[in-house]
């Protein structure tokens, strides 16, 4: 009998990984692979605030509004889709997102 049940991640699902306060962890359950960035941020925010990400202590002030989502297809070493939430690293005065259309203008 297995000590641990491992949930298989389907092709249309993805593991979500997040970095917060120098700790890194995965959401316990996979999400739909094509989930929107806002949905991913919402789920991660709720999970981190409530201590729902193994490896990351609960932080009621967790805020991921200035984080971005990277999406990676399966690899030989990691046979499932991966969504990673990391801080944005954009700088400068001219690449602010337009409040009207949401696009970045030069």
């Amino acid at each position: 009998m297995a000590d641990e049940l491992v949930r298989v991640i389907r092709d249309d699902e993805a593991r979500v990984n997040v970095t917060w306060k120098m700790q890194n962890g995965d959401l316990p359950d996979p999400v739909f692979r094509d989930s929107s960035e806002n949905d991913v941020k919402g789920w991660v925010t709720e999970a981190v605030r409530n201590g729902g990400v193994p490896g990351i202590p609960a932080d009621r002030d967790a805020d991921f509004r200035d984080f971005v989502v990277d999406r990676y297809p399966p690899t030989e070493a990691r046979p499932y889709n991966l969504i990673q939430l990391r801080p944005k690293t954009a700088f400068g005065w001219s690449n602010m997102r337009c409040p009207n259309c949401g696009q970045v203008h030069e």
Binding site: T19, K21, M22, D61, F67, P87, T89, G92, W93
Partner: protein, 133 residues
């Protein structure tokens, strides 16, 4: 002039010159590579902060884009960093004002500093990328 960045070690040395494709005279685009460098340097205990150039001369100040990236990166790393901004003739150091900051309401202070030793190279690389040099 084209915006250029550099990751700085605790020994005041450049670790990584950040000259990504897609940068312009007013912006450094989001970069997974820069985040990977910051994460690794911080994990190895080498990271002091990040510097970037702003166009023109005079006393530079952080943009809203700069500040929101400072906050996000510091939240991910779990500690404040040093953030230098260099114009063509002056350099400032921007740091989180710990006593005045609250989660979601971070406050940053700006101090004029003498040019660190790596600033001339940063300005040079910033000029080299310019079509107007």
């Amino acid at each position: 002039m084209i915006e250029t960045g550099v990751v700085i070690s605790i020994h005041h040395e450049p670790i990584f010159w950040h000259e990504p494709g897609g940068r312009s005279g007013g912006a450094l685009p989001d970069s997974r590579t820069l985040w990977d460098v910051l994460w690794q340097a911080n994990r190895d205990g080498w990271l002091s902060g990040f510097a970037h150039t702003h166009p023109g001369g005079g006393l530079p100040g952080p943009s809203r884009e700069d500040i929101s990236s400072f906050v996000a990166i510091e939240n991910a790393l779990g500690r404040p960093l040093n953030w230098w901004i260099a114009s063509s003739d002056l350099t400032v150091l921007v740091r989180k004002a710990l006593m005045d900051s609250m989660p979601g309401r971070e406050v940053y202070g700006r101090s004029r500093v003498a040019d660190p030793i790596w600033v001339p190279e940063l300005r040079k690389r910033s000029q080299m990328g310019s079509p107007y040099r």
